[in-house]
């Protein structure tokens, strides 16, 4: 990891087309601006980590659970006397 000190208004360039700017410092919080091509995703770390975890849990959904869910949805429809066309 490259560690460097920047003042407000100064920038860091990553590769050819990513620029990180120090916008403002307030107390112990730093406001950072990131310019990157649309093809590069930028995330707050904790959000990204939570998303990874959420996706991993989603991938663990098993067939029995899906079957149970479909049965319940069908039962709900029957109860409501739902006569909508599929996909409506």
């Amino acid at each position: 990891m490259l560690i460097l000190t920047r003042r407000v208004g100064e920038n860091v360039i990553v590769g050819d087309d990513i620029t990180i700017s120090v916008i403002e410092v307030r107390g112990d919080a730093v406001r950072i601006g990131i310019q990157a091509p649309q093809s590069v995703s930028v995330h707050r770390e904790e959000v990204y980590r939570e998303l990874q975890k959420a996706n991993q849990q989603a991938a663990a959904t098993n067939d029995a659970a899906i079957g149970a869910m479909m049965d319940e949805l069908a039962a709900d429809r029957a109860e409501r006397g739902d006569k909508r066309e599929p996909g409506a």
Binding site: S41, A54, N55, A58, T61, I66, G87
Partner: protein, 133 residues
């Protein structure tokens, strides 16, 4: 960006960025039921990797995600479908949908991406059924 109807046949999807937590990019999207509620998103590279998706409007008709126009550029089309990743533990009662990071796909190009929305109030695990009163 216009949201279109989702087709009912199996189709191939190419993710322009891998799903966070995974490296797979090529998937097949297949309807599971005949009501257009549940879809299987199965990896072509690792067939044992399978996600369950639902069109956002089925369980969340008022959900109006703010999807950046840049997503249309990445997917090669402004006409997109918005689907949600489901996590089902054992049944509908404990099933949740990820409203914070929907899967956006373009039927015209077959490209898809999981977008992380800015709205921090959107949950990653929203129950499909309202809690009993």
């Amino acid at each position: 960006m216009t949201v279109t109807m989702i087709e009912r046949a199996a189709r191939q999807l190419s993710f322009v960025e891998p799903l966070p937590g995974f490296a797979d990019e090529e998937f097949t999207l297949t309807p599971i039921d005949d009501q257009g509620v549940l879809y299987s998103l199965r990896s072509q590279e690792n067939p044992q990797l399978r996600f369950v998706l639902t069109p956002a409007a089925v369980f969340f008709p008022d959900y109006r995600p703010e999807v950046d126009d840049a997503v249309g550029l990445l997917l090669g089309s402004d006409e997109v479908d918005v689907m949600l990743m489901l996590t089902v533990g054992s049944s509908l009662a404990d099933a949740t949908a990820n409203l914070r990071a929907p899967v956006v796909l373009a039927p015209a190009t077959g490209r898809a991406i999981q977008v992380v929305l800015d709205d921090e109030t959107l949950p990653m695990r929203a129950p499909l059924v309202a809690a009993a009163a």
